[in-house]
Amino acid sequence: MGLEINKLKQMYYDMNLIRRFEEKVDEHSKKGNIPGFIHLSIGQEAAQTGVMHVLTESDYKFPDHRSHGVCLLSGSPKKKVMAEIFAKKTGLCEGKGGSMHIADVEVGNMGNNAIEGSITATGLGTAYASKYRGEDNVTAVFMGDGTCGRGELHESMNMAASLKVPLVYVLVNNGYAISTKAEEAHSFPENLSDRAAGYDIPAEVVDGNDIEEVYNAMNRAVERARNGEGPSMVELLTYRWQGHFSGDPASYRPKDEVQKWKEEKCPIKNLRVKLENEGVASEKLDKLEEDASKEVEDMVEFALESPEPELEDAVKYIYAEPYESMKEGK
């Protein structure tokens, strides 16, 4: 099913926004303005954008460690996502989360997580809560090819299918778990998501760099979940252009492989060609790109100017219901 031009233009904007965002994060990570480990998703913008255009703010989203784009498109004030990565008080989690732990519960971002597979089990709970209350929102958990080795995922799939909860496993298969290819460390028939069949979970494999394919596959999975038909898995075949983390030279990958993905399978370039073929003027697309760059520049400025957390924040929120006997001085 072809998507409306206006929707595709919005997706084009969002994908550019993610790419510019990641480039700026990379730059400021290398400059030392951003602390900690940074996992970039340049090259994977269609996988994130296509999925997020299906989900609404009332759906529960559990992004993984490589999910800045998912956080950006959740509906949060975007500059607060950037400020969070900069460890600033104005960030979504007041600077306590950082790149790998960003939540905005108001818009259903239940927090990205740095333990692979952990959220596949946690997402089971939000999905069960929707069913418990008779609500029609769904849960989407993000995972990678590396996550397929985690026991928590398999326990989650088994229970999700048995309880028939509204859950979608978004398997972003970018080919490598750090340096290890899926076929080197896993045993599976043809695709990683073939395993879902063993749990009676339907799975679909699509080109994760083709925004329309991603959107349509995700849409089918979400529809199934909303209709009470239980969990699904969507496997999005994609590629990360950079190393596992910002600064990883990724010498484990053949250069021509990277080059091929960049030249032939760039999700942004390919959508641009499609839009131009549909008659969208080149200048209009240029303008969208410029606007995206400008929006990211503003986010960076906001983040740079924002204050760091206060020292007293270090002991805040350890307990949701603090204990009298644990107050300082006792």
Binding site: G111, S118, S156, A320
Partner: protein, 325 residues
């Protein structure tokens, strides 16, 4: 007042809380039709059905994941991990999600779960059904560790735990399930973080919870015949720890024994000894004595298990040693 067994008191707490609050639900292995391995969830499934009482597969990680996620949306799961030894199977969820969700997202999420689990030796159940992993949990900021001794405490502390906004690990010593005691029929809460002086004394203080508290009370009774006055304190919760009650006692007795069933090294008594050294040094007339398990797995052979775990006599001798120092 009527008497209930420890397991019945827990069961009554669950019935009353599920009746009171539609958001409370129970999950675990065999908690439904069977009513739990120790009968603690008896009758819940018949009354509330599959939606609120879930018989799960052997998937502790998914059980805790489900609990955390449901709790993030405001539900109040009570999850039974049949034996405390199996906590290893869901440790990621406890350590990385239950404990940290509230902190790392700056208060946006809470994880009001209760993880009930049976700990302790004495059942001849050996290595994988007998451990006392309280200290594993105490080293995770954000987790509350509850350890009731009597049926009265079991009911009141479980009700408080279910109503708390904090993630709670609730230990049930399996040798206590069949002990009896007075339990009010109405619903009541006991404050988390409040210790109980179970016997007043002036010569020495013994801090002991769960099964070890029973030994401590027996020893105090016995030593009274020799004119030794023992104060027995049950912390009831190991985190938070009621320093005030314990420090007041030590300021009076100046001598202290800590008795715990876990391996001596790194057990919760080790933390208490460290804390007293830090904060109560000038009040102490004798070194803090730890009576604990040998640093060994809990063996299968009854003869070996009895040798490894701390027993009544060691508690008695430990108190004497500190008094005579």
């Amino acid at each position: 007042m009527r008497e209930l067994k420890f397991s019945q008191a827990l069961n009554e707490a669950l019935h009353q809380e599920m009746e009171r609050d539609e958001d409370v639900f129970v999950l675990g292995q065999d908690v439904g039709k069977m009513g739990g391995d120790f009968g603690v969830t008896k009758g819940l499934w018949k009354k509330y059905g599959d939606r609120r009482v879930i018989d799960t597969p052997l998937s502790e990680a998914a059980m805790l994941g489900l609990s955390n996620g449901a709790a993030f949306t405001g539900l109040r799961p009570v999850v039974e991990i049949m034996f405390a030894d199996f906590i290893t199977e869901c440790f990621d969820q406890i350590v990385n999600n239950s404990a940290k969700a509230h902190y790392m997202f700056s208060g946006q999420l809470t994880a009001p779960i209760v993880l009930r689990t049976a700990n302790g030796g004495g059942f001849r159940a050996a290595y994988h059904h007998s451990q006392n992993p309280e200290a594993w949990l105490m080293n995770i900021p954000g987790i509350t560790v509850v350890a009731p001794t009597t049926p009265y405490e079991a009911k009141g502390l479980l009700i408080s735990s279910i109503r708390s906004e904090n993630p709670i690990v609730f230990f049930e010593h399996k040798m206590l399930y069949s002990t009896s005691g007075e339990v009010p029929e109405e619903s009541y809460e006991l404050e988390l973080g409040k210790a109980k002086v179970k016997r007043e004394g002036s010569d020495v203080t013994i801090i002991a919870s769960m099964k070890m508290c029973e030994y401590a009370l027996q020893a105090a009774e016995e030593l009274a015949k020799d004119g030794i006055s023992v104060e027995v304190i049950d912390p009831r919760t190991l985190v938070p720890f009621d320093k005030e009650t314990i420090f007041d006692s030590i300021a009076k007795t100046n001598r202290v024994v800590v008795a715990y069933e876990a391996p001596k090294t790194g057990g919760y008594g080790a933390e208490i000894a460290g804390m007293l050294n830090d904060e109560m040094f000038e009040f102490l007339k004798a070194p803090v004595k730890r009576v604990a398990s040998k640093d060994s797995p809990v063996a299968f052979s009854p003869k070996l298990e009895d040798y490894i775990l701390p027993n009544y006599n060691e508690v008695l001798e430990g108190i004497k040693e500190v008094v005579e120092y």
